[in-house]
Each structure stands twice: as structure tokens, then as C-alpha cells.
């Protein structure tokens, strides 16, 4: 630079010696200076601004040249940096775990990285630059509607396609506008492809697992809800978390009312038991009284509820209402006792029958003896009468004992209405004596196969019970109806009614409310046995001070049906006996 400066000064100094050429030089320098200033983006020098001498002294070309050196230095540095950045970007482009390609508006692939090739390009295909992306990546003749590049070209926005399957692998493809023209047209897009097969498979597996769990949960919920046993789930602090419908029905509490309440609020007896034996219980019986019902006997089981890590997370409690079962057990024992008494009575009755026959026979002989005084005859008559009464009691006993014996029945086609009308004369004396009015309402009935004497006994017993219940002055109404293959007979009285406490016992043998000597307590049990044999039932509807209605309901049957039933029953008994012999 110094050399240049001195050359210019020399030209200025030589001005006097060679004015013409010097002027040309100065002009040249001014022109070149202006040219350089234009390059620098500013206006040309004005002659009045800088005269020739000042121009030469200032050395503008030197200044601009020096500035250019700095500019070129900066440019070279920038180029180095850009080259370095480009290399870095290329390395990132190639090393990234996602496939990348640059696509122009004609869907031609401009660039792509190795990963894109691995993921989406057929290995047999050589260079894919310049080929259509839809041909190379999707084996198609044109871009499809869901093509993310197409969407980005159209909207100028990034587009994500969540799921594209190719060669059994799943991809997510994101297309981003990359080069946009001055008028806003997207000229190129970058398409990034990410393989998400494992994630997708995991998602599918998770979805299937969720559906399976949900389905199992629903099944379990249905099973729990349909259980006849009550079921409760307790948390670690023995508070109620949930329970089923049966639990609500048994306890008469709604879950909403009991949720988060301690179990001991409901079952105080379990408080001590929960603290021992890790809270596990089997078959514990406790009594529970719901606010608006009678006391119930519950059988409770408690088990530990464990989490997936095996640690206790609560308890599950199941309970069943054993009240009816307990009652049935008591009734069964009672019935067994009665059966034993019946068998014993039958034996005793049989033994008493013979001596009683003798007593009656001799009493009757005595009555025929004309040598007896009137008093003696009266005494003999009392003996005969009491012996006869005793005999009829014994007959009743024997009949009760024999009530399951089918052999001695005489099956015939019976007309119940005729049987009812046939008993009227027998009842007439009692009805008149007690001023009781008997009315009937008998609908036409089909005949049914039964033992007529047994049916007569049922009508007589039930009618006599009604008469005795009324005492004197009252009404008895006997009604019959047929509905399909069922016959209904009801005998209603307006007596004092049967107290509720004894209603369940009046069918028990030997149970009577009559004074000692007036009833054997066998009447209703014999009726129950006879109707039971006919496959029917006896129901009582009684209201205190209003009266009692006994309803007898039984099936119509033909003699053939009854006989076939008898054969079937006999065969069953026979098989049972044979099996017993073998064992």
C-alpha cells in the first residue's frame, strides 16, 4: 500500500512536467474511485467535494482496496464456517435415526439420506434422486389424498400422517415446507419418516390388554352382582369400598350410605375377629338385625385381598343369610321327632286296639245282661262309650301313621262337590246346635282320581274345625272352583281367627288348641298328608276377630296318572332298597 501511495504522490508531484498525462491519471483515478464507491453502494465523488489534490492525498482506491481486503477476509471466514456447517448438517442428515428426503413441487426426490433408503426404498433400486417420491416410497402412479407432501404443498403447513404400513413396518411421516417462493408458494418440502412399528405393536398390545381387562372386569362385576351371597370389599383400614346387590338386600343399606364406613358399624361382632388371625375368618355366624326387619343369622367368611406385589391391600368379605336354613334344620329335627312319635304311637295304638276291643265287647255284653241294675247299665254304657271313643282315637293314630302308605288307598273318580254335599247331613246336628249357618258356592268341577273317604275326611275335618272355632252363632262358607287343571276349595269361617304365633304349628301332629279330651291334634296333619299325596297344598289366611279361610289347592288327575305315579314311586323305593342291600 505504501508503494502505491508514493506512486500516486509522485504523479501529483510530476504534475508540472507532464500536465496532459497527469490529468489523465487523475481522471482515471477519480473514475475508478467512483466505480469502487458504487460497488460500496454509495454515490460518486463530486468535484467540489474533493479536488484532484485532495483526492490524490486521500488515496480512496487504497482505502477501498484495504476495505475489500477486510471484506474478502470476512467472506472467506464465512465461507469456511458455512462449509463446516454444511458438513456438520450432512453428517447429521446421514446419521440421524429418521429417514429424510427433500421433495420438490413435482414430487421429485431431490435429496435423501441413508436411513430413508433403508426404511422406504426397495434395496434393488439404485439412485432415486430425480424419481417421483410416490413411485419410490409407495409404489403408486400418483400421490394419494393422504400424502403429507401434497398437503404441505397445498396448505403451506407441516403435515403429519400417523400410520403408514410398508413391508410389515409402521411409519409416521411428517412433511414440512422447506422452500417458499416470494409469492408464498411452497417449492420444496422435507419429509421425515420415523419407524414406529414397535411403538405401534406395543399400542395394539396395550389396547388388547385394556380390552381384555375391561371385559374381565365386566365379567367379574356381573358375577359379583349375580351372587346370591353378599360380598364386600374392604380397604386396609377395614372400611367398606364396595359391595354387591345381595349385600344391599341382606343389610338393607345402600352402598352410597355405607361407603367408607368401618365394617364394625355394620357388624360390631367382627371387630375383635378382624384384629386376630390376619383378619381371615371362615364360617363365623353372627346375628344381624336390619332396622325394619326381623333378626337374621348370617354366616361370614373373610379373606385377605392382595395386590400384584403380594402385599395386603384390603379384605374381601362374603356372607350368606342362614336364617331360613337354620329354620329348616330346626323343622327337620322337629319333623324327625314327630315321625318317631308317630311310629311309636302307631305301635302303641296297635297294641291297645286289641284290649280295647275286648273292653268294648264285654261292655256291650254287659249291656245285654238283664240282671244289671239301671246304674250298672249306665256305668257299662259309659265304659262302652269311652272304649269306643278311645278306639276312634286309636284309629286316627293308625290312620296318621299309615298316611304315606299308598297300597291301602282306593282310587276312584271323585266329584268333590258331591263329597261336600254328602258331609252336610253329618254336620247338620252340630250346625243346628251351635246356630251356625253353612252356605256353599260350588262351581262345576271335573272328577279327580282320589280316595273318596280321604277327601270326605278332609272336608269333615276342616268343617268341624271351623264349627269348633266359631263356637256358636256364625257362618261357614264353602266354595269350589276349577282353574285349568287345578281345583280350589276354600272353607271360610267368621270365627275368632288363629293367632299368628301358632299358625305355623297347627299342621303338626298332636298339636291342638282344644281342651284335653276334645281333640287329638291329628285332624289337620291328616288333612295335610292327604292333600300332600294329591300333590296339593293347604294355605291358611286368618285374621284375628274376623275369621279364617282355609284354601285347599290340588291337581286334577286321572286314575291312570295316579297309578303310573304309584308305579314310579314304588320302583324308586325298590331300587333304593336293592341298592341298600348291595351296600
Amino acid at each position: 500500500m505504501k508503494r502505491t501511495d508514493s506512486s500516486i504522490s509522485a504523479i501529483a508531484e510530476d504534475d508540472t512536467e507532464s500536465p496532459c498525462s497527469c490529468q489523465d491519471y487523475v481522471h482515471y483515478i477519480r473514475e475508478k474511485t467512483n466505480q469502487l464507491l458504487e460497488v460500496m453502494g454509495t454515490t460518486p465523488l463530486r468535484p467540489e467535494e474533493l479536488d484532484d489534490r485532495a483526492l490524490i492525498e486521500m488515496d480512496p482506491i487504497g482505502i477501498v482496496a484495504d476495505s475489500f481486503r477486510q471484506i474478502i477476509g470476512t467472506l472467506n471466514k464465512t465461507i469456511d464456517e458455512l462449509t463446516h456447517t454444511k458438513n456438520e448438517l450432512q453428517a447429521i442428515f446421514d446419521a440421524t435415526g429418521v429417514g429424510i428426503s427433500i421433495i420438490d413441487r413435482d414430487y421429485t426426490i431431490e435429496r435423501y439420506n441413508q436411513k430413508q433408503r433403508e426404511l422406504l426404498v426397495d434395496p434393488n433400486m439404485s439412485n432415486i434422486v430425480g424419481k417421483f417420491c410416490y413411485e419410490v416410497y409407495s409404489d403408486r402412479c400418483s400421490p394419494i389424498c393422504e400424502c403429507p407432501a401434497r398437503e404441505s404443498f397445498a396448505t403451506g403447513k407441516s403435515t403429519l400422517v400417523r400410520e403408514i404400513w410398508k413391508k410389515g413396518r409402521c411409519f409416521q411421516i411428517i412433511s414440512t415446507p422447506f422452500s417458499v417462493s416470494e409469492d408464498g408458494v411452497v417449492e420444496k418440502v422435507i419429509e421425515v419418516s420415523m419407524e414406529v412399528t414397535e411403538k405401534k405393536i406395543a399400542e395394539i398390545a396395550e389396547k388388547e390388554m385394556k380390552e381384555f381387562c375391561l371385559s374381565e372386569k365386566m365379567k367379574l362385576a356381573t358375577i359379583i352382582e349375580s351372587l346370591s351371597e353378599g360380598l364386600m370389599v374392604l380397604d386396609k383400614d377395614d372400611r367398606v369400598i364396595s359391595w354387591n346387590r345381595a349385600a344391599e338386600e341382606m343389610t338393607h343399606w345402600l352402598l352410597a350410605e355405607m361407603k367408607d364406613q368401618p365394617l364394625t358399624t355394620l357388624f360390631p361382632e367382627l371387630g375383635a375377629a378382624l384384629k386376630t388371625n390376619s383378619g381371615k375368618l371362615q364360617g363365623v355366624e353372627l346375628t344381624y338385625k336390619a332396622s325394619d326387619s326381623e333378626e337374621r343369622v348370617l354366616s361370614v367368611n373373610i379373606g385377605q385381598l392382595e395386590g400384584s406385589d403380594g402385599k395386603p391391600i384390603g379384605k374381601v368379605l362374603t356372607f350368606s343369610d342362614n336364617t331360613e336354613q337354620k329354620k329348616r334344620t330346626e323343622l327337620y329335627h322337629h319333623a324327625e321327632k314327630l315321625a318317631a312319635i308317630g311310629q311309636l304311637s302307631a305301635g302303641v295304638a296297635h297294641e291297645l286296639n286289641t284290649p280295647l276291643g275286648s273292653v268294648l265287647g264285654y261292655a256291650r255284653l254287659l249291656l245285654k245282661d238283664k240282671s244289671l241294675t239301671a246304674i250298672q247299665k249306665e256305668q257299662a254304657s259309659i265304659i262302652a262309650e269311652q272304649a269306643k271313643k278311645s278306639s276312634s282315637i286309636i284309629q286316627g293314630l293308625l290312620r296318621f301313621a299309615r298316611q304315606t302308605s299308598r297300597e291301602k288307598k282306593v282310587l276312584e273318580n271323585c266329584q268333590l262337590n258331591d263329597i261336600i254335599m254328602g258331609t252336610r247331613p253329618l254336620l247338620e246336628t252340630e250346625l243346628t246346635k251351635r246356630k251356625i249357618k253353612l252356605t256353599t258356592d260350588l262351581a262345576p268341577l271335573e272328577p279327580t282320581a282320589a280316595d273318596a273317604q280321604e277327601l270326605e275326611q278332609v272336608v269333615l275335618n276342616l268343617s268341624m274345625n271351623a264349627i269348633q272355632a266359631i263356637g256358636s252363632k256364625g257362618r261357614i262358607h264353602i266354595k269350589t272352583r276349577q282353574s285349568g287343571k287345578h281345583i280350589l276349595m276354600s272353607i271360610a269361617d267368621n270365627g275368632p281367627g288363629i293367632p299368628e304365633a301358632i299358625r305355623s304349628r297347627i299342621f303338626d301332629p298332636f298339636y291342638t288348641t282344644k281342651p284335653v279330651g276334645e281333640g287329638t291334634g291329628l285332624g289337620l296333619s291328616i288333612c295335610s298328608g292327604i292333600i300332600g299325596d294329591l300333590g296339593g297344598t293347604i294355605d291358611i289366611d286368618s285374621h284375628l276377630e274376623k275369621g279364617t279361610t282355609i284354601r285347599v289347592l290340588f291337581h286334577l288327575a286321572t286314575i291312570e296318572q295316579k297309578k303310573s305315579q304309584k308305579v314310579a314311586a314304588d320302583t324308586k323305593v325298590s331300587s333304593f332298597v336293592k341298592a341298600g342291600e348291595v351296600t
Binding site: 460500496m40 477501498v64 476495505s67 470476512t74
Partner: protein, 88 residues
């Protein structure tokens, strides 16, 4: 604590001058103080009231790789030219 370097400020008053003389004066100063400006020891503070200079001077200085800041102070402009940014 941020350490503060002491920077010499070369004050270049070209008030009343117009382009292209302004630009040539500034370019000359930039050439003269190149080493210190690039190392950050020196900062060139140009004061000008010629509006065109606020365009031509920063453009040229930036092309040379310097960091330029232009401020309007009352009736003139202050163009601060200094050490370029360090690239990461």
C-alpha cells in the same frame, strides 16, 4: 461476576460531511484500527448528521465483519462499530 474489558473509543466526528466522503473517512479509520477493532480493544464511534451515512457505513462495516449499532442522538447519529460476534 462478568469481567469487563477496558475498551478504547476512537471518536470520529464527521458532522457536516456528506457521502461518499463520510464513507471513505470511516473506511480509512476501520483500516487503520483493524487489529484493535477485531480484538475488541478499540471501538469506533462515528458521529454523523448525514442520513445516507447511516445506511452506507453500517452496510460496509458489516460486510467487513464488524458489529454495528446505530443510535439517533438529538440531531445527529452515532454509529458504533466494534468487535464482531464470536461464532459458536
Amino acid at each position: 461476576m462478568e469481567s469487563r474489558e477496558i475498551v478504547d473509543v476512537v471518536d470520529l466526528n464527521i458532522l457536516g460531511q456528506v457521502c461518499p466522503a463520510c464513507l471513505l473517512v470511516v473506511l480509512k479509520a476501520l483500516n487503520l484500527h483493524e487489529r484493535n477493532l477485531r480484538s475488541g480493544k478499540t471501538r469506533l464511534l462515528v458521529r454523523t448528521d448525514h442520513r445516507d451515512s447511516t445506511r452506507t457505513v453500517p452496510e460496509s462495516a458489516r460486510k467487513m465483519g464488524y458489529l454495528v449499532d446505530v443510535k439517533k442522538i438529538d440531531r445527529h447519529y452515532e454509529i458504533s462499530i466494534g468487535k464482531p460476534h464470536e461464532k459458536n
